[in-house]
C-alpha cells in the first residue's frame, strides 16, 4: 500500500506531461537550449576564427525530406522566429537569452519529418569567388584549431584540403591556377557536403593542398567550403 502511494505522484506527473508533449510530435522538434549549448561554443572560442562561419544544420531522418522552402521555427511563449534553411539544411542560429530562458523549441515546417541538428563550421565564402591557397590553408587551420578545442580526438589530425560544395544545378567545378601558370580543372562530382548519410547529394569538388601556391577560382558561388582533416 505504501509502495502504491509512492507510485501515485510520479504517475500523476507523467499523466500531466503527456498532454504537453502531445503538442509536439516525437522527433520533430529540438530543444533550443541544447542547440544553444552546441552553437555558443564557437562564440566562446578564443582562437582566430575570422575566416570561418558557424551554422546549425538540420539532418532529416530521410534524405530529400527537406526540399525547397524548408525552415526552422524558433517557437517559445513569446519568441516566434523563422529561420530559413539553405540547400544544405543550414541556418544561422540566433543566440537569444529570451529564447533560452523561456525554453523554446526549434520546429521544422515539415510534418512527419523527424530530424536532428548538428553544429557545422565552414570556411567563409568570398564574394568575388577568388581564393588564394594560402588563405584557404589559413582558414582550414582555424577550423582545425576549433575542432581540437571541442574534440580532443582531433589532436592528431591535419588539414588535408578543402571541399567546395555547390548547389544541385551548379556543376562547373573549380579552376586552379598554379604559380607556374598551369591551370587545372577540378570537376564537381556528386557527394555529401559533410559526409552524413542523410545529407542531400550535391556537386562537390575536393582540392587537396599541395606544396605549390595556387589561385582558386570558380564560376558558381559555393554553398559551403568545408575544411578536410585527415
Amino acid at each position: 500500500m505504501r509502495c502504491a502511494r509512492r507510485l501515485l505522484v510520479p504517475i500523476a506527473l507523467l499523466l500531466a506531461a503527456v498532454p504537453a508533449a502531445a503538442q509536439l510530435r516525437a522527433g520533430e522538434w529540438v530543444s533550443y537550449r541544447d542547440a544553444y549549448r552546441a552553437m555558443v561554443r564557437f562564440e566562446k572560442f578564443g582562437g582566430a576564427k575570422n575566416l570561418l562561419v558557424s551554422q546549425l544544420q538540420v539532418l532529416p531522418a530521410e534524405r530529400g525530406a527537406l526540399g525547397d522552402g524548408a525552415r526552422l521555427a524558433l517557437a517559445g511563449k513569446v519568441t516566434q522566429l523563422n529561420l530559413p534553411l539553405d540547400a544544405l539544411g543550414r541556418t544561422v542560429l540566433p543566440l537569444q537569452k529570451s529564447a533560452y530562458d523561456e525554453n523554446a523549441a526549434l520546429v521544422l515546417n515539415r510534418n512527419g519529418v523527424p530530424f536532428t541538428v548538428l553544429p557545422r563550421v565552414t570556411i567563409a565564402p568570398r564574394t568575388d569567388g577568388h581564393y588564394d591557397s594560402a588563405d584557404l590553408r589559413a582558414a582550414c587551420g582555424q577550423a582545425l584549431a576549433y575542432a581540437r578545442y571541442v574534440d580532443a580526438s582531433q589532436a592528431a589530425r591535419q588539414c588535408a584540403g578543402v571541399r567546395f560544395v555547390f548547389a544541385p544545378k551548379a556543376a562547373s567545378g573549380v579552376r586552379l591556377r598554379h604559380a607556374d601558370g598551369q591551370e587545372q580543372l577540378l570537376a564537381a562530382l556528386p557527394g555529401a557536403a559533410f559526409g552524413a548519410e542523410a545529407e542531400e547529394v550535391v556537386p562537390v569538388a575536393t582540392w587537396r593542398f599541395g606544396t605549390e601556391r595556387a589561385q582558386v577560382t570558380m564560376h558558381d558561388a559555393p554553398l559551403a567550403i568545408v575544411p578536410v582533416f585527415e
Partner: protein, 285 residues
C-alpha cells in the same frame, strides 16, 4: 551536442555517488533547472539483501556562473575548456541507522546510546528483526572535495572525484574513477548512456560503513570486523532519458554495484552485488 543532452539529467537524489553534470554554457544570468519526482528500488543499505522502494526527488540546476546542484552534490565548473571539466565539489553522504541507509532516527526501534556502557546484557536474538540493530548510527555527512572530467572523444567521458568527510569521525575519503559512453541514440528524443567505474576508499571510510567495533559486536549480531581501506566497489550503469517535450522528461536509471576488498568481506554485507533501479518524471524550467 549529444553529450550535453545525455548529461543534462544524470543525478537523482538517491544516487550513492557524486555526479557532476557537463559544462553548460548559457546566457549570462540564465539557469537550466530540472525538478521532478519518481520512485527508486534500492537495497536498504549498501550490501543489504532486503530492498526498499522510496520516492525519488530529482533536482538539477546549473547557473551561468558555473555553479551546479545535482542530486545530493553541488559544485562549480571552473574550466571553460569543453574537453576538460574540473572544480570544487560538495556532496551529502546519506546517513545510516538500524533500518538502513537514509532513514531518520525516529524510525529506529533500538536506541544506539549504549556506547561505552556495555555492562547490560543484550539479547542478540531480539535484534535480528533489525538488519543493523546494535550498530552505531551514522549521520548524514557533508563531504568536500573536487572533480575532474575529461572527454577523449565527445562520446566518451572519463570521470573522477575525491570527497572527504564521510563516516562517524568525518575522516572518510572516497575516490571515484569512471568512464561514461555517451551518445547512444535511438532517435532525437531517446538518449541512452552507459557508465562503469570503481571506488577507492581510505580505512576510516570502510571502518565507518563496513567495520564492526568491539562495542558494536557486543550489542549486535555481528562479529568484530576490522575493515581496511582500498578498492571498495566496481559499478556499472545505464541511463535512459526520454524527452517528451522541451519541458518534460522521463529519466530512468539502472545501477549494479559489486563490493570488493575489505568491504565485501564485512559481516554487514549480505549480498556483495546490489542493484538499484529508478525512474522519474522531471520538468525543465
Amino acid at each position: 551536442m549529444n553529450k550535453l543532452l545525455f548529461l543534462a539529467l544524470t543525478a537523482g537524489c538517491g544516487a550513492a555517488w557524486a555526479q557532476t553534470p557537463a559544462t553548460n554554457p548559457m546566457p549570462d544570468g540564465s539557469r537550466d533547472m530540472y525538478v521532478g519526482l519518481g520512485v527508486q528500488s534500492a537495497p536498504r543499505y549498501v550490501g543489504a539483501e532486503s530492498r526498499k522502494v522510496t520516492a525519488l526527488p530529482v533536482l538539477q540546476v546549473e547557473w551561468s556562473n558555473g555553479v551546479f546542484v545535482s542530486g545530493m552534490s553541488a559544485g562549480m565548473h571552473w574550466s571553460e575548456n569543453p574537453v576538460f571539466e574540473y572544480g570544487p565539489l560538495l556532496a551529502v553522504h546519506p546517513g545510516r541507522d538500524e533500518s538502513g541507509a537514509g532513514r531518520t532516527i525516529g524510525d529506529v526501534g533500538i536506541t544506539t546510546d549504549l556506547s561505552g556502557f556495555i555492562a547490560s546484557p543484550i539479547n542478540k536474538n531480539a535484534l535480528r528483526g533489525e538488519r543493523l540493530g546494535g550498530m552505531e548510527k551514522i549521520g548524514a555527512r557533508l563531504q568536500g572535495g573536487a572533480f575532474a572530467n575529461y572527454y577523449p572523444d565527445p562520446r566518451w567521458r572519463l570521470t573522477g572525484s575525491l570527497l572527504v568527510g564521510s563516516g562517524n569521525e568525518h575522516d572518510g575519503a572516497r575516490l571515484e574513477l569512471g568512464v561514461q559512453r555517451l551518445g547512444v541514440v535511438a532517435d532525437a528524443q531517446h538518449r541512452v548512456a552507459f557508465s562503469a567505474g570503481v571506488a577507492v576508499v581510505n580505512r576510516h571510510y570502510n571502518e565507518s560503513y563496513f567495520g564492526v567495533s568491539e562495542v558494536e559486536s557486543l550489542r549486535s549480531r555481528f562479529p568484530y570486523y576490522d575493515a581496511r581501506g582500498g578498492l571498495q566497489d566496481a559499478h556499472v550503469g545505464v541511463r535512459w532519458n526520454w524527452t517528451l517535450s522541451p519541458s518534460w522528461m522521463v529519466t530512468s536509471n539502472l545501477q549494479a554495484l559489486r563490493l570488493l576488498g575489505s568491504a565485501r568481506n564485512s559481516p554487514l554485507v549480505e549480498r556483495s552485488t546490489n542493484v538499484t533501479v529508478s525512474t522519474a518524471v522531471a520538468y525543465r524550467f
